[in-house]
Amino acid sequence: MSDLAVQTQGLTKRFGRVQAVTDVDLRVTEGDRYGFLGPNGSGKTATVRMLLGLVLPTAGRVRVLGGRVPQDAARVLPQVGAMVEGPAAIGHLSGRANLRLLDAAVPTPGGRRTRRRRVEDALEALGLAQVGRRPVRAYSLGMRQRLGIASALVRRPRLLVLDEPTNGLDPQGIALVTDLLLQLSAQGTTLLVSSHLLSEVEHLCTRVGVMDRGHLVVQDDVDALRAPTGRLLVTLAVRDQDDDDGARAAALAGQLLGSRLLESPVPAPDPGAAGVRLVVADAGDVVGDLVRGGLAVREAVVERRTLTDVVLSRTTAVGEGMGA
C-alpha cells in the first residue's frame, strides 16, 4: 500500500481521433493540497473524469486511495467528494432536498438521522443552512457553486476533487471556501483542486501539476517551483534621483558591482522616496559591497519565480484566463 491518494501510470485517453490525454503520471500524496493547472483543452477535465471513473482510459492505470478505478470504484469512490465542471442540481427542488436525495441514492452506514445531520453540517459549512425551501433554480451562481461544494462534502471524504471551486463566488464566498479548504486540509483531507486562478493556487496549494496539450509538463512542490531566480532587486536611497546625485549613485554602483550588475540602473518605481533600482546577480556580498562603497541601500529583495512564470513558460497553448 502506498501513501499516494492519487496515482496514474501512463494514463492516456483518445476521444475518436482526438488525443485528449497522453501518458500522464499523476502523483498526489495523502495530505497534499494539489493544484491542477493548465489551459482550457489541456486535458485536465478528461484526467479528472478518469480519476472518478466517468471516462474510461484508452490506456494506463488509475489508483485512487489504494484502489483501482474503475474496477474498485464502488469501494473507493465513497471516500471521494467531487465537483466536476460546475455544480448541478435538480432545479425545482431545494438545495437540502437535492443533497438528501443524492445521499440516499447510495446508502451509507448510519441511520436516517445521521445522514440528515451530515447534510445539515455540509449546508452549514457553506453558509446555505438558512436558505430553506427555496428551489435551486432561484439560487444565484455563487449559491449553486457553494451547494456543489457542500454536496462533495456530505460524506466527509478523504479526497476532495474540486474543479474551479471559487468560480462565480463573491469575495466573501472565496474567503469562505478557501478557509474551509485549509481547515479540511488541516484535518487530513487531501485536496485536488483545478483552477485557472494561479494566484489562488499559489496561496492554497502545496504541490502543483501543470497540463499542456494532454501532457503533464510540470509536477512539483510549490516551494520548489518558486525558487529564487538568482537575481537580486536592490533599491538605493538617493537625495534626489532627478539630480546628479541619482546618476552618480548609479555610476558608482556600476563600478562596485562590475559584471554582477545585470541591467542599467533606473529610477526606482517607488513614488514616495527618491531611489535607484538595480537588478543584480545574487552572488557575493552585494549589499556589503554597496554599503562599503558609501551607498545607502534601502531595500534588497531576492527575486523568486511566480507560479505564473512557471506555467506560462511551460505551456504552449494560449488559454483563456491563464495568468489572470
Partner: protein
Amino acid sequence: MRLAALTGVELRKLALRPRTWVSVGLLCALPVVVAAFLGTSELAPRPGQGPAFLSAVLGNGQLYPAAALGIVVPIFLPVAVCVVAGDAIAGEAQAGTLRYLLVRPVGRTRLLVAKLFAVLAFTLGAVVAVALVSFVAGTQLLGTRPDALGTTTASLSGTSLSPQELLVRTLLVMAYVSVSMLGVAALALLLSTLVDSPLVAALGGLALLVASTVLVGLDAASAIHDLLPTRYWLAWVDLFRDPILWTDVRRGVLMQLGWAGVLLAAAWASFTTRDITS
C-alpha cells in the same frame, strides 16, 4: 438493498416532479371528456358499426375503465411513457446530475435498472389512474343499467359476466396495456443512454411507434407484421370475449418481452461502457 434504495430515490424524484402529475392528469382527462360527451349525447356508435367496445359502454359504465385504456393506448399513453423513459438517463445528463450520481458512486447497471423500475412504475401508475378515474367517470356520467348494477354485464361474445369476472378482466386489460408499453419504453430508454437530449430520446421512441403503426396498416409489409411492437396493442379487446381469446394476447406479451429484452440489453451494453462527458 442498494438497488431498493436507489429505486426509492428514483421514484421520489419522479413523484416530486410536477410534469409527472401533469401528464397523468392529461391522460385521465381524455377519457373523462369522452365520457362526458357520450353521457350527454347518448350518441354512441351504433352496435356493429363503431368500435365494438364503446357502444357496449354506453349501457354500462362499469366497462368504461377498459374502454378508457383503449382510448389512451394508441397515442397518449405511449407519448407519456416515452417522455419519462427518454428523460431517464439523458435528462440527468442534460442537467449535469448524471456525473454526480455516478461518482457517488451509483453503479451504472444499478442506475439503469432503477430507472427502468421507475419507468415501469410510472406506466403502471398511469394505467391505474386512468382506470380509476374512468371507473368513476363511467359510473357517474354513463350510468349503469338499472337492471345491471351488481348483477351481470354482457361480454363481447354475448354471454354475461359477473361483477367479479368483470373486475378480473379489467385488471387483465390493465396488465396487458402496461406490458404493451415495454417496447417503446425500452427504445426510449436505450436512446436515453446514447444521447444527452431527453427530447431526442423520447422522439426516437415515438418514431418507432409511428413507424410500427404505419407498417401494421400496410398489407405490403405483412411479412414483418408479427415483429412490429404495435401489432397486438388492440388485443386487449379479446380479454372481454367469453371465453377469453388468449392467442393474440400471448403473442403480444411475448413480442413486448422480446423487444424489451433486446433493447434493454443494448442499453446496458452502451451505458456501462460509455464515457460520461456530460
